[in-house]
């Protein structure tokens, strides 16, 4: 029995566990780079994966005019975000987490102004839905931000 145990200790066993599959890949299977660009047939950059000016990771997807229309990444405070932009690169829809408790928030904007804010309040984590008029007037549908 001791011999079997000792042999087993030195014999690898093909494991089907998720951990094993998601573990360290062989060196040849890992490509490390500071910036990755996917370019179109015309050489124009389409997707960039890299580090933002805040030092946090991000993915940016560009339109035909070279404007970033969608970004996925982390803010400098480590909160996560997905941002959809208009043709002037102004954010119009933001899915993000906010604050130390990473409260989920959805923001929809028009002309640079918040018009719909929905999510969980950072302190109490209570849900809220707030609308803003074009003049900035605030209307709480339920809860508060």
């Amino acid at each position: 029995m001791i011999i079997g145990y000792a042999v087993a200790e030195h014999l690898p066993w093909p494991s089907a566990s998720v951990e094993a599959r998601s573990g360290l890949a062989p060196q040849g299977d890992v490509l490390s780079t500071h910036t990755l660009e996917v370019v179109g047939a015309d050489g124009r950059r389409q997707i960039v994966m890299g580090t933002s000016s805040e030092g946090s990771p991000g993915i940016w997807i560009f339109d035909r005019n070279g404007k970033a229309r969608l970004s996925i990444g982390l803010y400098g405070d480590n909160n996560a975000s997905v941002v959809l932009n208009d043709e002037r690169e102004q954010a119009v829809q933001i899915f993000r987490t906010v604050g130390e408790r990473s409260a989920p928030v959805l923001v929809m904007k028009s002309q640079g102004r918040d018009r719909i804010v929905m999510g969980l309040n950072g302190a109490s984590q209570d849900p809220f839905l707030v609308l803003y008029g074009v003049d900035g007037a605030k209307q709480s549908v339920f809860g508060h931000d």
Partner: protein, 182 residues
């Protein structure tokens, strides 16, 4: 005597086998627990050594799963617009993000049959943000800013299972041509 030697050999082999099984019991008989779900959300482990390139430019990037199938795909789509596509190992969920040919960005979360259960996109001439909840390819709820009114007032609309529309907040123009008469 010969019988006892054979018996001794069998006992020895069984003992070795039992020792092997005891040592490998966790790999051979894994217990379920929550390990799977934790590993599912875990990022791949960092390599112990790496050589870092300052920049890499490609036309297409595929990240392969353990079975060599594509799990992440970054590329220019057929209409000449860029996109990211990713799926899980069992192909039961898909995330797509990118820019349509008309420049509108989108984010799509789907199940294996591509029946969207959440969609964020920018739509209409005013680039209005909308969030669409679908099930079985049928729209059931839409939240967003108006695509037809100049001041882009907010709207929230829901649809019953039989397709009846209920405006909860504001008004949503659900005609494909976005031409609505109120």
């Amino acid at each position: 005597m010969a019988l006892s030697r054979r018996t001794a050999a069998v006992v020895l082999i069984v003992a070795i086998a039992v020792g092997f099984l005891v040592a490998k019991r966790h790999q051979i008989f894994p217990n379920g627990g929550s390990r799977g779900s934790v590993a599912f959300t875990a990022a791949p482990a960092e390599p112990s050594h790496r050589s870092v390139r300052s920049s890499v430019r490609v036309r297409e990037l595929r990240i392969l799963g353990p079975d060599e199938s594509v799990s992440v795909w970054l590329r220019e789509a057929a209409e000449g617009s860029p996109g990211i596509w990713m799926t899980n190992a069992r192909k039961t969920a898909v995330i797509e993000a990118g820019v349509h040919g008309n420049g509108f960005p989108f984010l799509l979360v789907s199940d294996g049959a591509v029946r969207n259960f959440g969609l964020g996109r920018v739509d209409g001439v005013q680039a209005s943000p909308i969030l669409v909840f679908r099930t079985d390819d049928v729209v059931r709820m839409v939240l967003g800013l108006s695509m037809t009114e100049a001041q882009q007032p907010p709207f929230l609309v829901q649809y019953t299972a039989d397709g009846q529309k209920h405006d909860i907040i504001g008004h949503y123009c659900d005609r494909p041509d976005r031409v609505c008469v109120r």
